[in-house]
Subunit: 370 residues, 2 copies
C-alpha cells in the first residue's frame, strides 16, 4: 500500500475513528486503526465490537492499493506531531510501515488487516434528519444520568423514543431520571430503542455541534447508525424492555419553588465543600414562606444559607444528594428553574412548563433534628 | 476575634500564603493558615519550617482583635466559593469559627494560634532590588535543572551569586547544568548562597511577574527574604559549599551548529514518541556538512529526520537524553540557538555569545551500529 494525504485530513480522520478504539481489550487487533485503500478510497476504521466508526479521507491519493492495521495510539501520536504537510504511508509485504512527512521518516510495524472486524453492513431504512447541534445538546442534557456501573446493562443505556415529530431521550440510574423532548422538522415512524450511553457520548464528541450541519440517523432492529460528512458510526442497541419510568411521572405537587439557577448552584457548591467525597451527607432545603434555607453539616463543620424564592403551596423540608441536583441544574439552559415537590419522601421534579426537560431526583433521608 | 474584609482581598492573601503550607506534615498546626488580628492589622501566615510567608490584608477592619489558625485547604476552598462581597470571620473562646458572607454562614472549628510558628524575624541588611518579571524569568530558566531527589540536598538548591551588578543562578542535577546571568540596575556586595529550588519556584508563582513592579531581596547568613507589596517570604538557605561546576566550563569546541530552535524542538518531540517513559533511549544527532540527521529507535520502531543547519568545524555523531535537550530549548528565548560540541563523550553547550545563558548537557552512550 502507498497513499498520500494531508496531515490535517489524516489527523482529523484518526481523531474521529479513535473514539471506537477500546481502552482495554484482549484482542490486540482491536487496538488498531485499519487503513483500507484497496477499493479506490482511503478509509479509516476502528471497532470495539459494540460500536464501530469508519471515515473516508477525501483529500488523498492512492499510489498503490492495500490495507494495513496500525496501533491506534502510536499512529495518532505520530500523525499529530508531524508538520502540516503531505504525509505518505507506505507498507511492504511484511507490514513494515514507513510514514514520511517533509524530512521526517518513521518506520513502525503494522499488522495484516485480515483479522480486523469491519463494521457491519446494515440495510438502511428511512433516515431521521437532525442537526449536529441538537443531537449534542440532547445527549449532554440526559447522558449524565446513566449508571456507570455495568451490573445493570439497561441503566447504561439511553432510551430513544420517536413519536411522530418528537424525539425523547430518557436516562436513569435508580436515583434520578432525566428526560428531554425535542421537536423534529419532519414526522417519522414510531420507534423505541435503547442506545448504549457510550455510543451517544462518543458521537457527541465526533460531530462538530454546528446548528447548520445536519446528520442522518438510521434505527434498525439491532443497530443505530449515524452518518455525517464522510463518517459512519454503527452501534449495537441494548436488548430488552426499558424501565417503566412513566409510573414515576405522576407529577402531583404541594409545593412549587421558583429559584435563580446560578445562585442555587453556587449555594449548593458552597454546601458541598464540607462534605468529603464518598461521605453521603445530604443538603437540606427548608422552604418556609418565601425563604429557602439550605443547610449541610459534617464532622468538618456546618453551613447555612438563605435564599429568597418564589413559593406556591405548602412549606417543605427535604434532603437531597447535592451532586444529583448540581448535575441537573448544570444542563438546564433556563435562568430560573421550577422545583415541584410533594413531600419529603417523594421525588422532586425540575421541569419547565412545556416539559421539554424533566429532571426527577429522589430525596434522601435526613434527621430533622440538627 | 472578629474581622471583616472583602472576599477578593482575603482570597488573594490566602492564595499567597498557601504556597508555604506543607502538603505532607506530621504537625497538624502547619496545615493551617494563621489569621493574626491582634496587633492592629490583619496578617495571614503559613510556614512549613523551611519557608514561611506572611501577607497583610490592607482592606479590612478589625472589630475585635484576636488570633485563629484555620485548616488551609478547607479555609481556601470556602473563601474561593463565597460571593464577591464582604466576609466576616468571628471566633469564640473555644475556637469555633463563623464565616459569614451575604446570606451564607459557615461554622468550622479552628485551632488556637499558640503552637503556630511565626516566620523568624531576621535583621535586614541592604536589599537587592529586582523586577518581579526578571526574578520569575531567571528562575524559570534555571530551576528545571535541579534534582527532585532529596538524597543530595545540594542538588535541590539553586546557587545565587551576586558579583557587583550581576546576578547569576546555577542549577544542576549531575546530568546537566543551567546557568543564567542577568545585569542588575545597581551594584551590590558580593554574595554566594544556595537557595532551595522550592523556595524560588514558589516565590515565582506568588509574584505578579510584571516588569514594572519591583521587589526587594535580602540575603543574610542563613536566610533569604523576599519582600513585595504587603507580603514577606522568608526561607532558610542550604548550608555547605556548592559544586565546583566551573571546571566543567572549559568551552573548547570542535563543532558549532546553529539551528532553528522551534524546528529542533519539533523534531525531538517526534523522535521521543517512539520511546516509552522510563526507557532510556537516546536521540542521536549526526551532523555531516550542513545536515543534521536526528534518529531514534526502540522496539516500537525507528525515526529519522534531516534538518539543514549552519555548521562550523568537524562532523560529529553524538547521543542525548531528549528530555534534557527539550527542557533547555524550551526556556531559551532566541529563535536560533548555537550548539557547541567537542566530541561524543564531552558535554554539549547551548549558549549565546554574551553567555547570559549556558545550558550544558552530558551526552549518553549509544551503539553507532544501528
Amino acid at each position: 500500500m502507498k497513499i498520500t494525504c494531508s496531515q490535517n485530513a489524516l489527523l482529523n480522520g484518526v481523531n474521529i475513528v479513535s473514539k471506537a478504539v477500546p481502552s482495554k481489550t484482549t484482542m490486540a487487533i482491536l487496538e488498531c486503526i485499519l487503513i483500507d485503500a484497496s477499493k479506490g478510497e482511503i478509509k479509516l476504521t476502528a471497532n470495539d465490537m459494540e460500536m464501530g466508526i469508519e471515515t473516508v479521507i477525501t483529500e488523498g491519493t492512492i499510489e498503490q492499493p492495500g490495507i494495513i492495521a496500525l496501533d491506534a495510539k502510536l499512529f495518532s501520536d505520530l500523525i499529530r506531531n508531524l508538520p502540516k504537510s503531505d504525509v505518505t504511508i507506505e507498507t511492504n509485504e511484511t507490514f513494515q510501515t514507513t510514514i514520511r512527512c517533509e524530512n521526517a521518516e518513521y518506520k513502525i510495524v503494522g499488522k495484516s488487516g485480515e483479522d480486523f472486524s469491519y463494521i457491519p453492513v446494515i440495510p438502511r431504512n428511512q433516515p431521521l434528519i437532525i442537526s449536529q447541534f441538537t443531537l449534542r445538546e440532547i445527549v449532554r442534557q440526559t447522558s449524565f444520568s446513566i449508571s456507570d456501573n455495568d451490573t445493570n446493562k439497561m441503566m447504561t443505556g439511553i432510551l430513544v423514543e420517536i413519536t411522530g415529530n418528537h424525539m425523547k431521550m430518557v436516562a436513569l440510574d435508580g436515583h434520578r431520571i432525566s428526560i428531554r423532548v425535542i421537536e423534529l422538522k419532519d414526522s417519522y415512524e414510531d420507534k423505541k430503542v435503547i442506545v448504549p450511553g457510550k455510543t451517544l457520548n462518543e458521537i457527541s464528541k465526533i460531530i462538530n455541534g454546528s446548528i447548520e450541519d445536519m446528520m442522518e440517523i438510521y434505527i434498525t432492529d439491532n443497530h443505530i447508525i449515524f452518518e455525517f460528512e464522510n463518517t459512519t458510526m454503527v452501534s449495537r442497541l441494548i436488548d430488552g424492555e426499558y424501565f417503566r419510568y412513566e409510573q414515576m411521572m405522576k407529577s402531583d405537587y404541594e409545593t412549587r419553588v421558583r429559584v435563580n439557577k446560578r445562585e442555587l448552584m453556587e449555594s449548593i457548591a458552597r454546601a458541598t465543600l464540607l462534605v468529603k467525597e464518598g461521605d453521603k451527607k445530604p443538603i437540606i432545603m427548608n422552604v418556609e414562606n418565601q425563604n429557602m434555607e439550605l443547610t449541610s453539616s459534617s464532622f468538618i463543620g456546618s453551613m447555612k444559607e438563605d435564599r429568597t424564592v418564589e413559593k406556591e403551596g405548602k412549606d417543605i423540608m427535604i434532603g437531597f444528594n447535592p451532586k444529583f441536583f448540581m448535575d441537573a441544574l448544570r444542563v438546564v439552559d433556563d435562568e430560573e428553574v421550577n422545583l415541584y415537590m410533594l413531600n419529603p419522601k417523594a421525588p422532586c421534579f425540575i421541569k419547565n412548563e412545556q416539559e421539554t426537560y424533566i429532571y426527577i431526583i429522589l430525596p434522601v433521608n435526613f434527621s430533622s433534628v440538627k
